[in-house]
Amino acid sequence: MASVTLTGLVKEYPNGVRGVDGVDLQIADGEFFALLGPSGCGKTTLLRTLAGLEAATEGRIDIGDRDVTGFEPGERDVAMVFQDYALFPHMTVTDNIAYPLRIQKVGRDERSARALETAQGLSLAALMERRPAQLSGGQQQRVALARAIACHPQVFLFDEPLSNLDARLRLEARTFLKQLQKSLGVTTVFVTHDQAEALAMADRMAVMDGGRIRQVGTPREVFQRPANTFVANFIGATPMNLLDAQVVGGALDFGGFTLPVPGEGGRASAWPVAEGDKVVYGVRPEYVQCLPAPAEGAARGEVTAVENLGVSVLVTAQAGEQSVRAVVPESDEPALGDTVHLAPSSERVLLYRADGDGELIGR
């Protein structure tokens, strides 16, 4: 097993697009690491550069204690599962799983035996003589996994391996993959555009945008303290409220209403903001209360939309010039046009810079 270290990695395509634009990252030995980001942000490019399928334009890649930057893909001791699985259509399941062993010049009998052994672990033993076209999506995905496992690599690279499965299978595969990775203990880089997948499976994750990494941390850290407005907006089942505000007279002026500068125990000093600063006030809808009567630190608004989320309700209200979302229990569901009083829990509020990359203020 091995750690993976990327230093100043850049991948520029011949057409001038920078798929990866200066990435520094360290992935620990045995870690399940998720790369999350919107489509086109460079996740696949990063993974392919790591695999050696694309040559790095700048920077360096270390796997374990080897600098593999100029290595051929086959010399890097990694295994990759492609989004379309890339199972060889003319080979049986056995031959597909055993293919890495064939390259390693393992004898035919031993190959088949080891392929069967791996396949049994993934409940594929009954399908060994089939061809990929005769398998369901979930089975194909497991064959692709088995093929990656069979070559005992130092690092697994997964490019959206669950995206071709239907919703239910995807949930099952998520659990299964996570358990499998833990039992094998192989360092894993898992690319996905689905934040639920990343949050659920990863030990640590990185959020990417425009070829750069915008935040690295555990799923909890990323969820609770998004490092900038991009991550704040991207992560979460319902997007975070990001409201423009200005510090006026020691409070936050939202244009139409004001709220106190949040702070742990009411200490405004927790947020180093100065009079006149423009900030972005971020709070998840889950942490906004929707009160029927006016209260301290609440903004008055009018309900403009009510969406059912199952056990809870997403309320959108217009407060002054701002549109604010709150998640309330279904028992408290207001009606359209009702006047409500929106109270953010102040210890959950995050303040971001209104300029630059919208970084979190303070730390």
Binding site: A51, G52, L53, E72, P73, G74, E75, R76, V78, A79, M80, F82, Q83, D84, A86, F88, P89, H90, M91, Y99, P100, R102, I103, Q104, C151, L157
Partner: protein, 307 residues
């Protein structure tokens, strides 16, 4: 012939009935009776046209099917009795089998040459960015439709003469392959382009060498494309008359396409017994082969010329 009327009609069977019910339907229901009538008229015209087309395409083929079995074969395509005597004549003719064999040599030889060279070229052109590859392909394709045929027959004749390849089947194979290659490369490249690169990439990550990837992955995956192009080349050569006619003068080397024109008797009259049976025997293999491949793999050329 509106589609709405078509659906109604198939639902209710009679135009007038559905017309009287049209009050319950939506707007376009008005005038359904007339619509259905027009539909019937349209259908009849359509069927008449289709029948005419069937006759048009079938009529010339009639002779090929009937005459070989006629006791009195002539230009007349009629079923006046049934006999296999003409086939006995054909079998007895000393030129029959050698010419079919020559056809086989020429077409299998050209087909193999075309497949191998086209597969190599198509793969490299599809996967490696060689400068000017699109223009090259395009120019060759145009050139091949331009130059094959009569336009370059004279220089080809002179060139083969200089090379000492006149009256040699090898020369004919080379000339025919050269003419077929551009289109073959084009079709195969289309095919290779449609194969996901992740197959090769995945093998590559497992450490396979270029030659291993080619042998284990690429070759098996593009085999259907090669089969299609191979049969296409085979059919083209099998039916080609002009090139072997101009380049081969020794009757013992000539293929069936040319030999068919030698079945005339002393008076200059065509020997219908020989010609009709020979035409049938000579046509069947290529037709069967083509229909088989067409059914199995579909039409290879999707017209995907990129501008």
């Amino acid at each position: 012939m509106s589609t709405v009327a078509g659906q109604r009609r198939s639902g209710t069977g009679s135009g007038t009935v559905s017309g009287s019910r049209s009050g319950t339907g939506s707007g376009p229901g008005r005038g359904l009776g007339a619509g259905a009538l027009r539909l019937v008229a349209g259908r009849s015209v359509m069927y008449a046209v289709v029948c005419l087309l069937v006759v048009f395409f079938a009529l010339p083929l009639l002779w090929l099917v009937l005459t070989p079995f006629s006791p009195t074969p002539s230009y007349k395509a009629s079923l006046s009795g049934f006999t296999l005597a003409n086939f006995e004549d054909l079998l007895a003719n000393p030129q029959t089998w050698p010419s079919i064999r020559n056809s086989l040599v020429l077409s299998v030889g050209s087909s193999l040459l075309v497949i191998v060279l086209a597969a190599l070229a198509a793969y490299a052109l599809s996967r490696v960015r060689i400068p000017g590859r699109d223009q090259l392909l395009y120019a060759l394709l145009l050139l091949s439709s331009i130059v094959t045929g009569t336009a370059a027959m004279v220089p080809i004749f002179l060139m083969l003469f200089q090379l000492g390849l006149i009256d040699r089947q090898f020369g004919v194979v080379l000339v025919l392959s050269g003419g077929l290659l551009p289109a073959a490369v084009f079709m195969l490249k289309d095919f290779v382009d449609s194969i996901p690169r992740s197959y090769e990439e995945s093998a590559r990550v497992f450490g396979a060498s270029p030659s291993q990837i080619l042998r284990h992955v690429v070759l098996p995956v593009i085999r259907p494309g090669m089969a299609t192009v191979g049969v296409w080349a085979l059919v083209q050569v099998w039916g080609n008359f002009l090139v072997p006619y101009v380049l081969l003068s020794d009757p013992s080397k000539q293929p069936a396409a040319v030999v068919m024109y030698t079945f005339y008797d002393a008076g200059g009259q065509p020997n219908f017994a020989l010609i009709s049976t020979f035409a049938l025997v000579y046509s069947v293999p290529v037709v069967v082969l083509y229909l088989f491949v067409n059914r199995r793999y579909g039409f290879a050329f999707q017209g995907g010329i990129k501008g």
